[in-house]
Amino acid sequence: MNTNTIKEKKTKEGNATSIKITGAEAIIHCLLEEGVDLIYGYPGGAIMPVYDELYKFQDKLTHILTRHEQGATHAAQGYARVSGKVGVAIATSGPGATNLVTGLADAQIDSTPMVCITGQVGSHLLGSDAFQETDIVGISTPVTKWNYQITKASEIPEILAKAFYIARSGRPGPVLIDITKDAQFDSIDFSYKKCTGVRSYNPVPKPDQKAIDAAAELINAAKKPMIVFGQGVILGQAEAELKALVELSGIPAAWTILGLSAMDTDHPLNVGMVGMHGNYGPNVLTNECDLLIAIGMRFDDRVTGNLQTYAKQAKIIHFEIDPAEVNKNVKCDVAVLGNSKETLQLLLPLIQKNSHVAWHNEFKMKYDIEYNEVIKNDLHPTKDGLTMAEVIEEINIASNNSAIIVTDVGQHQMIACRYAKFNQSKSNVTSGGLGTMGFALPAAIGAKMGAMDREVVAIIGDGGYQMTIQELGVIFQHKLPVKIVVLNNDHLGMVRQWQELFFERRYASTVMVNPDFVKIAEGYHINAKRVSERKDLKATIQDMIASKDAYFLEVKVEKEDNVFPMIPTGASVSDIRLK
């Protein structure tokens, strides 16, 4: 029954407007109507009617069986982050559904468009503590942009259309749709209409010309302006507008962790990363600039440090799509609401050409300080132990700065985001807001499938790797040429660093006794190598990047290295430590 399409049924039944199909089949048609050709998931009792339809539609809709439902969500996220499309994950009721929660929370805080579909016990059993019943709508409410429980098959087309619309529009986010088993079995007259609006939801505020004018006036008058751009630039597809603004105004531009790759890292006006482990210059100069232009970022506490001392001397302009973010953490002088592409396009004609040479020199001077204190030792260490940074640098070289880098959470993530180089947008996939260990391996699977023509390198710590290590099974089964680099310091490095700095070296539960990672990868029939000496690093990484197949590389790095610079929690951005 692989040719089971709506069209054929329509002619057979001679009905042009609608056809009679089961709810489960309707779900598949909804996905196809939304342009979905790839979903991640895990079957189980309450979602079996849908899986039965997936079997029939396998030529149109690829289902990837992850080894855990959490893996399905992170894979869907990775796919969404590199492709800009909505990621889809599917799971059964009860434990299947609860295993989605971490991925939902991650997608919510990082504004990733995702639709999760869960099976639910039959509607007559709802609330009865039935087998594998959980109130997933209740559980997922705080971590979804929207969620809904379908108990009647007739609701499926309209609700799924709404789900995709909400997930991808405005500030994107995750949507969970819970569908009772009887709604999957029941028949409906199917017809599909894409959702184009929800009356109570205004996804993109209309730009206010007065705010744009006020912003332009401040920008043109500023002597020491600084741009901080976030993921809003990527989500709004405003990379070209950002570049034009930066080049025209000559304003130094810094990125947040999720803004990384929106502008080429080698761009001369790019001054590095802000935040806890960001670069010295943009952090310190946040408290010296006279105008801070925030574009598509939300002043996360990891960016601002102590709010009482954050950019108090500066006027602040906030380009933002979500009104709830305006004046939430940092009070701004001018709020420019709207989609970043649209607002920057309106702003550009009003901006005067400038170069801010003296101001740029201050960034250069700060960079030199950071180079001498930190970067030099990270990239060109004089001791024997390998540093994480030199691994990243070799990956930059081997991939010509063109790889998609997927990172997990911890020291390796901060080092990768500090040192990885990018020459394309949507290339940095990391768990920013939630800090989800275990994110990278499944997210790299999704990233690869969302950009098959691109090199995807997952960089993972030895801790986070073991949280979702089972997803190696997907890489093996589907022969996905994902490159996996585990930077192994035999510690939960970031927590250990905090213990060293703030807990008098009491290393509580941060020493890892690790298995033979190479053997594990080989158990999944993945080419695997281990490097523990500098002399082998370059050639092995070149081998890895050149490989047409999946490749696992464990690099034994220095066990007790720290990530600097660092803004200690609660400290001011200008009190960033270099050691």
Partner: protein, 175 residues
């Protein structure tokens, strides 16, 4: 910043689960909901939540922003007490014998502008509408005689100034 009483008015779609979504926003910030009332509003098929909280204005503003962001919320506002006309309702259930034995009770009813809703052989029910402190006073007056049951509604409130939602109303009625 000083804490004050705020009345938050939320216009929303009438959907299952929305109350959970809204109350979660207060929960996340560890703000106690002092009173909650849900009813229909002046706009057809639009519900109105009235939530009373005691917090700093900054928090009230942020909460309203985060509430308004929810897909099924149409608009949300916050107001201070003196910007609204607000009331609560209560019911007291009292043993019928007291109505005849304790003449004072009749005076309490009169003085408080309360009404007797029903009288039976065993009990009678007094209803009163007013401000919280008026209700509290009446409660204290009746307490010595014995209250069989007591219940107070959430605050209901309307604003003195126009709720800036009339444009939306017009748009909805067109669609």
């Amino acid at each position: 910043m000083e804490k004050k009483w705020f009345t938050i008015s939320i216009y929303s779609e009438n959907n299952v689960g929305l109350l959970n979504r809204i109350s979660g926003i207060f929960l996340k910030r560890h703000i106690n909901i002092e009173s909650l009332n849900v009813s229909k509003s002046e706009i057809e098929n639009v519900s109105k939540f009235i939530v009373v909280v005691f917090c700093e204005e900054e928090i009230a503003r942020k909460i309203v922003g985060q509430i308004e962001k929810q897909i099924e919320v149409i608009k949300a506002f916050y107001h201070l007490d003196d910007e609204t006309i607000y009331q609560e309702s209560v019911l007291f259930k009292i043993a019928s014998s007291l109505l005849f034995d304790e003449r004072q009770i009749q005076n309490i009813i009169k003085d408080n502008n309360a009404t007797i809703v029903t009288v039976s052989r065993e009990f009678f029910v007094i209803a009163k509408t007013g401000r919280k402190h008026e209700i509290d006073e009446m409660y204290m007056q009746l307490l010595p005689f014995g209250i069989m049951q007591f219940v107070r509604s959430g605050r209901i409130a309307i604003t003195k100034t126009e709720m800036p939602i009339s444009a939306l109303l017009a748009k909805f009625q067109k669609s």
